[in-house]
C-alpha cells in the first residue's frame, strides 16, 4: 500500500507541475493515524503530508461543488466517489473537461468505530495490505483481518472500481454481489408493519439533528436545505418526533435516484444511526422500476428528471 501512496504522489506532482490542474483533492496525515483528513493541494511541496489508505472516510465528491466550474480540479476517486462525480456531472455541478480523476480500485473502507471499540483511541501506528490491517498499540503490533473491520456499506459494495478514471492506479477488482443489498432490504421488508414502524421510530428519534449526514453527503449540496427554512417552516426544526421523522424520510427521499450508497452519512453519524436502509430501499426500487443505477455514466438523467409519455400506464384511473 506504500507503493500506492508514492505512485499517487508522483502523479499529483506531475499534474501540479505541468499546471493542468489548479487544485488536487486527496487526503493528508492528521494527528491520529486513524483519522486522515481531506486535503487540498495547490503545490507539490505540501505533498509530503499526502496519505491514502482504507481509513479515509470522507467521500471527496463532497468538495467538488464548493469550487466554481472554471476551477480545474484533480481528485483521487474510489468506486463510489467516481459514481458520485458522475451523478454531480449529470446535475451540472462541474464540467468534465475541468476534472482529472485518478482512480483507485477500492478494497473497502475500514470502520474506525470497530477498531476503537476493541483497542481504544491510543493507536500510534497503522499499516495495511489487501487482506489484513496492522495497528500499533502501546508499542505492540496487532494484525486484524480486513473483512471484519470493513464498513457495512462497503461489505455490500457493488462497484469497487472507478467508472470514469482518467488514470487508474492498481488492478481492477471483481464486481460485488447484488444479492447482498437485496438481502438487507428484504429482511427489513419481511418484518411486520408494526415492527418496521417501531424500528424506524426508534432509530429516527435517536437523531440529534446535527446534520452531519447532510454535510458528509456529496449529493446534499443545496445552499438552503428544506429543514433550514423558517419562512415557511416546512418541518419542525427541533428533535421532536415529528421533526426527526420528517428529516429521516425526506432526506432519504431527496436521494432517490441520486444516492451512490457510499455510506458517508452513516460514517458521519455521531449517534450511530444506520440510515442507509432507507436509501438502499429507494435504490432497489429505482433499479427495479427504471433499471437505473446512479452514476454509471455522466449522461443518463435520474428517473425523477427523465419522465416521459411512456409513463401513461402508471395512471390507473
Amino acid at each position: 500500500m506504500a507503493e500506492l501512496v508514492s505512485e499517487l504522489r508522483t502523479q499529483i506532482e506531475r499534474l501540479l507541475a505541468d499546471q493542468s490542474i489548479d487544485v488536487f483533492i486527496a487526503f493528508k496525515k492528521a494527528d491520529s493515524p486513524l483519522r486522515p483528513q481531506p486535503a487540498f493541494f495547490r503545490s507539490g511541496d505540501a505533498l509530503t503530508d499526502l496519505e491514502y489508505n482504507s481509513l479515509c472516510q470522507n467521500n471527496l465528491g463532497n468538495y467538488l461543488t464548493r469550487y466554481p466550474n472554471e476551477t480545474r480540479i484533480g481528485m483521487v476517486v474510489r468506486g463510489c466517489e467516481s459514481r458520485t462525480v458522475n451523478a454531480l456531472l449529470v446535475e451540472k455541478q462541474h464540467i468534465r473537461e475541468n476534472l482529472t480523476l485518478i482512480g483507485v480500485p477500492c478494497h473497502g473502507i475500514v470502520d474506525i468505530k470497530k477498531i476503537i471499540e476493541h483497542y481504544g483511541e491510543e493507536i500510534t501506528g497503522y499499516s495495511e495490505n489487501q487482506t489484513d490491517i496492522t495497528i500499533i498499540l502501546q508499542g505492540k503490533e496487532h494484525t486484524l483481518p480486513r473483512e471484519e473491520l470493513l464498513h457495512d456499506s462497503c461489505l455490500r459494495c457493488l462497484h469497487p472500481n472507478p467508472v470514469n478514471a482518467d488514470i487508474l492506479i492498481g488492478d481492477p477488482l471483481p464486481e460485488g454481489d447484488p444479492s447482498l443489498v437485496r438481502k438487507k432490504v428484504d429482511s427489513f421488508e419481511a418484518l411486520s408493519r408494526d415492527d418496521r414502524y417501531n424500528w424506524f421510530k426508534q432509530e429516527a428519534e435517536r437523531c440529534i439533528r446535527c446534520y452531519a449526514c447532510r454535510e458528509a453527503c456529496p449529493m446534499c449540496y443545496c445552499t438552503e436545505c428544506f429543514v433550514d427554512f423558517n419562512q415557511p417552516r416546512w418541518t419542525e426544526s427541533s428533535i421532536s418526533p415529528a421533526g426527526t421523522h420528517a428529516w429521516h424520510i425526506i432526506r432519504a427521499f431527496h436521494q432517490a435516484g441520486r444516492c451512490t450508497s457510499c455510506g458517508a452519512c452513516e460514517r458521519a453519524c455521531p449517534v450511530d444511526i444506520k440510515m442507509t436502509y432507507l436509501t438502499d430501499k429507494l435504490n432497489e426500487d429505482i433499479l427495479e422500476i427504471y433499471n437505473f443505477e446512479t452514476g454509471m455514466n455522466d449522461e443518463t438523467q435520474p428517473p425523477f428528471a427523465a419522465f416521459n409519455m411512456d409513463d401513461k400506464k402508471r395512471f390507473v384511473a
Binding site: D194, A242, H245
Partner: protein, 158 residues
C-alpha cells in the same frame, strides 16, 4: 352514508375519517364539481388546492399524515391533459416512490389514493370521496407517523 347527508352534525363529524384532498386546480372539468369542492365539502375533508399535481411536494403529504389525517386523495389530470404539459408525469413518478418508502417504514400506502380525472368524469370526485370514506372507516384508525396531532399550529386539525 352519503357525503351530502352527513355534514353539519357534531357527533357525526367526530366519527368521520379526516381526509386531505390535494386537488389540481385544472382537473375538475365540470363547473358544478369544482363548485361542490370549493363550497360544499363536508368539514372532515380538508381541501388543499394546488396549481398542478407536480406542485405537490411529497413533504406536503407527509405533513398531512403527521397532522393526523386518516387518508389522502390526490386528484389530477391524465397524461396529455396536463395544463403544464408534464407536471403530472413528474408527480406520478415521485409519489409512487414516496409511497413505496412510506410503506417500507410501516405506513399503509392504501391510505393515499390517486384520482386521475378525465373530461367525462362529471360527478366522479363525489363518488370517489364517499367510497374512500367508507374504505377508511373499515380500516383500523392508525397513529403511524401522526406525530403532530396534539398541536394546533401547522397541523390540519382544528
Amino acid at each position: 352514508m352519503g357525503l351530502a347527508a352527513a355534514s353539519g352534525s357534531e357527533s357525526v363529524m367526530k366519527t368521520r375519517p379526516k381526509i386531505a384532498l390535494f386537488q389540481c386546480q385544472w382537473c375538475l372539468y365540470s363547473e358544478s364539481d369544482q363548485d361542490w369542492v370549493d363550497h360544499q365539502l363536508p368539514p372532515s375533508i380538508h381541501l388543499i388546492k394546488t396549481s398542478c399535481t407536480g406542485r405537490i411536494n411529497p413533504l406536503y403529504i407527509l405533513n398531512a399524515i403527521q397532522g393526523g389525517v386518516d387518508g389522502i386523495v390526490i386528484s389530477g389530470c391524465l397524461p396529455e391533459k396536463c395544463h403544464y404539459k408534464e407536471g403530472n408525469l413528474s408527480a406520478v413518478r415521485q409519489h409512487e416512490a414516496f409511497l413505496g418508502l412510506l410503506d417500507y417504514i410501516g405506513y399503509e400506502r392504501e391510505r393515499v389514493r390517486f384520482l386521475w380525472l378525465d373530461l367525462q368524469d362529471r360527478g366522479r370526485i363525489q363518488r370517489e370521496l364517499a367510497d374512500f370514506e367508507v374504505f377508511l372507516e373499515e380500516l383500523q384508525p392508525t397513529n403511524t407517523l401522526a406525530t403532530r396531532v396534539s398541536e394546533t399550529i401547522g397541523g390540519l386539525n382544528g
